[in-house]
Symmetry: D2
Subunit: 398 residues, 4 copies
């Protein structure tokens, strides 16, 4: 069925965080890829030591990204890695992704893609130039019912979408001790590493992408009010963002990493002229459809139900009632990337800027979103223009 | 125990709406009042005809408010009504309340209190002058767990409150046929009757009052973006409001009467430095307390539980698990008013501007809130000052 | 609309329990009755003292049931009470109800109706003889969505019902101190007062009635396993009951008053060949309908929705989203009784054994259920025959 | 960290079912095993064709189980598979498992383990004789919060457990067309392949194992009432099972594959003298702890929370709020098996009958449970003795 397993190199993941491990599991869940190389830490010794836990052959456990790219590029085509997955702090995404693309590898990259729009722009150009696949791990877009929601909206089941509300609440910043460095996540509070935004960049970009991904609405203006209530550094840990989309629809995003006891509480609500949808990441196997005067419909993630859309069905691995969750959604984003990489390898059409999964354009949009939100907040919440990446014509508002 | 039943007159309630019936049931639920008189419609014949269904003696079923006030004022003290409850469209609240206060009656009034701040100011003055009890039916503040939330915050259980989010979603406006008058609620879409705001006045004022009531935070500034997506008249049916409270706390309110399938979905989330709370009106018997690293605590409305605060306990009529709901919460607001009326009757201290239940000051605040939101929205969401009624010193932020 | 208010006498309610207060509120919620007399305690002084809190004129606050019946019977027809509500410990239900019926009054009685089937049989005969209305307060049958469920089943929306599961879990017995008498509910653990069953009689009869009421299934056999894990007296506090209905359907009931932290957790699940229903008393405003391959449908208690059945609609007082709860359900049972009492007063047809609300027949069934369960449990869970009251022909299985 | 990847052979999985794929994903999720061989179908051609989709080298895609065992046993020790996973219809479990054990392989086997107790007994003996690891995939015991529940009970947090209730509801049998063979699952309705029980064997054994696993209670007697409401064959599709445990605790199990719209609705409720627990497989990241008079505690699957027990923490791969689900729970059972297999390989102590994960003893218990339930149901629900496997002394009731 799948001609060969793609070969993966992991950048980062050797520290205390969990996201490197997520990449390793998600990428290989369907046995379509194998993790064969890594530069798992900025500390070469640490990186090499971590390789064993990832099952990486010591010979391909590199001490640095440069070494990895250089050595892998020198391997025969049937041995060298096909793609690198970047699971490092934000400020390193750009140089690593740039180098990987220039070395001819496909790239899978965490968000936010870069810490400046100029860098994001450069990556967009590089992807266009190299034609390499670029996957941005907006993993929440991989949930089957998120894809079902998008498809329902595209099919007009909600009528015209006029409002979208996303809320992303966490509380972990209350656990930071200002007097000592945290075991992990420390860089998220450090502007030099995280970029110009805190919670907004870390989780707000997911919420924004999810709103864009599902509704297809094109942004026009943004107004933001960001606050730092608990964060020991001058980065936002709480914020309200309002959006004006083209043709009049409204959006709102709430981000918090200081709401006690919330874990990863991402919710999405979409209002259309014919119905409304609600979804919550922590209960991802249900999607609520409401229409005035009708019973609330709870759609289950259920590949065998007639109400499940083709895209929703394709994103499932298990029957309904056998819950799927975070790893599988993450794996779905990888899976889409793999299809594109194989198409590229086979010489089939594969425009990395026209893909249906999160790409460098989503990355560009996320960085543009951050920059305008930060600017708006500094301007006392003034409305500032916000534009979409140019591929968005492929996702027209329904 | 209760020396005597208070005598109630109902203004409005004879039409297709349900709120007049709610007043009649809530006010008498505890047998502390009896409904003895009414002017149930602006149409005298209709009003008299409706009286029977309310069990009102035809002799006291009046054709107009003026007639009611005049005739009742002329009755002996042991027969005439003690208070009038105003359940009429917004634009009539002011003249009726003013006349009732001037005639010496206590007043229970629906929200928003008036359609202009000048009128609200006048009522505040009148209450101060007459010393009559004035209850504004912000009925959601009567829920036992809302009162528990307030008491927990006052006791410092959340630490310092730095954010409050309220959301109030309905969808009924999708049911309006633009080509024919609706059976009920028509006036809510008519600026001449509803006042300057639509959903914001109808439900947003509840959400604002609830945020103020529970947190005790004092407002400083407001920014609003209001929209009319479905409403056939030029009133808002959807909106986002941001609040800056004194000392830096943030607030957000979302109002919608155009979210398909939502019925009366009022939610409240409060963030403090030591914990966060969440409550939902449609499941009012549970209150969620969250703290980082601890299990989520679900407080039940349960007068027998040690965790229930005195105010929460006092607001209960049934043991836990025997759910209480809308009527009982509404009745709790009445009950507080009755205590004040009896204190007034007995010559005990009773400052109608210092009461712990929603008063003319809440009414004033609601109207000020509406006016500044509408002004802000017209000014492209600019921040405008927002002030509290002057009694708010009695509700300091914890 | 309603020609006159019915006059109510309350028996019991003067102690620490809450059910007397529930009767007083529920019966008068719609202003169709007024509480005018009472014998509120077996202790005359205590009963008279309690009368004031209930708003009962001291002149009609009687020291005993006999006094009440005697004196009220002697009053002119336009003054004497129409009905007596019996809110006393189980063992007194029979003598009070018998005396009230014989004195010509309608009766509203708590469950279980009697402590022996012989007594239940005698009451059934008395109701037939006197023609007086007899309402058994199986209050959970008054919830709008319970009535909707019954109507949906009658209409065949579930196809043929083949299974029903009820579970009724409480935990309050863990709070009893075996070394001291409890403030209230003590009699529930005393076989002399509670009858032959503990939890089974107190809550199991509700669950059984609800299963019978909604499905209309006619019982054939029962097998029970009862336990006493915590109860200081030899009464069951935990039990499993299986039912075989006529034509092959199965039923199961679980009762517990020793499940820590459960308050009043009554759930009902019904399986039919075309769909299944689920309802939970602590969230009574929602009813779930499931069909294979379709989204779960959440029916809201919503009088304005087209999906609401006439019986469901008639049981509502508020629009959807404005939750109704325990009192209103209880009041619905009273309301049905009032209709019958007024029909009786007007000489309209009123067969007290053919009514659509819980009657003496439900009471008889409940006692029969208790006796056979206790007998089965003593016989090591053997299947024993179980019969329906003879009115059940009016509730055919769909 | 992990010395080497274990080599896996998969038996079955080449048909329309999903469980073979689940084994393939779960076993390799943590990169501790690799799928290298398979006999994926009883149809050799079909089995070989399916191998590619599983990434199995055609050279090790065998046409039959015998061929697989024979050929693998002949490979050098550093190439041949370590274990075989059996994902075939019930009636084939025994011969395959027996042959695999006899050939020296570890075994991972679906439930129910065999279709007769004699066969189960034989497998138990074989495991004792061969010393090979035998894992029964009672995958629900792999959920982190199920393990947390077990550990809480072992620690005495619930006091003495006196009751356990499990319910396992599905509805898929309504989708079977009696006139044509189903695409998959057909054998589940065929007594020759499924064994003496239908739903009871397919899902009831999971529920029983879960009750045993979490509470550690030792069974004494069982009474069952099984029905076939929809199943086209004479196997149960609905049933109620009561359990008497040693020392007096009660248990109840409800199984249904004919409850419309239920997907895989397995719930567990446990009552102790100090608290009660509730868990639901379809929302597996939450566990509810209730104590009289205290707020309900919702434990999240959260490795970073202090309230999480060591066993719960060890079973997590992601932070709280990043939901884990079916695959990861399944993988946890594999993980435990891998530890034992590696211990075996290293010559460390490894008693396959004393393991803390589901073993051949759970399999034996499940088959004994089925046989006694079927016998009881045929004897009109009589109580019959039920015994535990002999390792259960390692799981004392708390």
């Amino acid at each position: 069925m799948h001609a060969r397993k793609l070969r993966m190199a992991l950048i980062g993941g050797g520290g205390a965080g969990f996201i490197g491990r997520v990449h390793a599991i998600a990428a290989t869940l369907d046995h379509r890829a194998e993790l064969v190389a890594g530069a798992l830490s900025s500390d070469p010794a640490k990186g090499r030591a971590a390789a064993e836990a990832f099952g990486i052959d010591p010979a391909r456990a590199y001490g640095s990204v440069d070494e990895l790219l250089d050595r892998e590029a020198g391997l025969p085509a049937d041995q060298r890695v096909d793609f690198v997955s970047i699971a490092t702090p934000n400020h390193t995404h750009f140089p690593i992704a740039r180098a990987a693309l220039q070395a001819g590898f496909h790239v899978v990259c965490d968000k936010p893609m870069t810490t400046s729009l100029a860098d994001a722009e450069r990556l967009r150009e590089l992807v266009a130039e190299t034609g390499r696949v670029f996957v941005l791990t907006h993993n929440y877009s991989g949930y089957p019912l998120v894809r079902q929601a998008r498809e329902m909206i595209r099919q007009g089941e909600l009528g015209e979408v006029f409002a979208v509300r996303a809320s992303y609440l966490q509380g972990w910043l209350h656990g930071l001790d200002p007097d000592r460095p945290p075991a992990r996540g420390a860089w998220k509070s450090d502007p030099d590493k995280a970029g110009p935004a805190g919670a907004l960049g870390d989780i707000g970009t997911h919420a924004y992408q999810l709103a864009r991904f599902t509704t297809g609405l094109l942004p026009a203006e943004v107004a933001a009010t960001l606050r730092s209530f608990v964060c020991p550094q001058p980065l936002d840990d709480y914020g309200h963002v309002l959006l004006r989309f083209q043709h009049g629809a409204m959006g709102s995003l709430t981000t918090s990493q200081v709401t006690h006891g919330r874990l990863n509480d991402l919710t999405l609500e979409i209002d259309g002229t014919k119905g409304s949808l609600a979804w919550r990441q922590e209960a991802p196997n249900q999607l609520m459809l409401r229409r005035l005067g009708e019973p609330t419909q709870t759609y289950e993630r259920n590949p065998n139900a007639a109400y499940t859309s083709p895209a929703g069905r394709a994103a499932c691995r298990l029957p309904g009632g056998h819950p799927e969750a975070f790893f599988e959604a993450f794996a779905n984003v990888y899976r889409d990337g793999f299809d594109a990489m194989l198409a590229h390898a086979d010489g089939r059409p594969c425009d990395p800027l026209a893909a249906d999964f999160p790409t460098v354009l989503d990355g560009w949009e996320g960085v543009a979103f951050i920059e305008q939100c930060v600017a708006s907040s500094r301007a006392n919440g003034a409305w500032l223009p916000l534009t979409a990446g140019d591929s968005r014509g492929t996702r027209p508002a329904s």
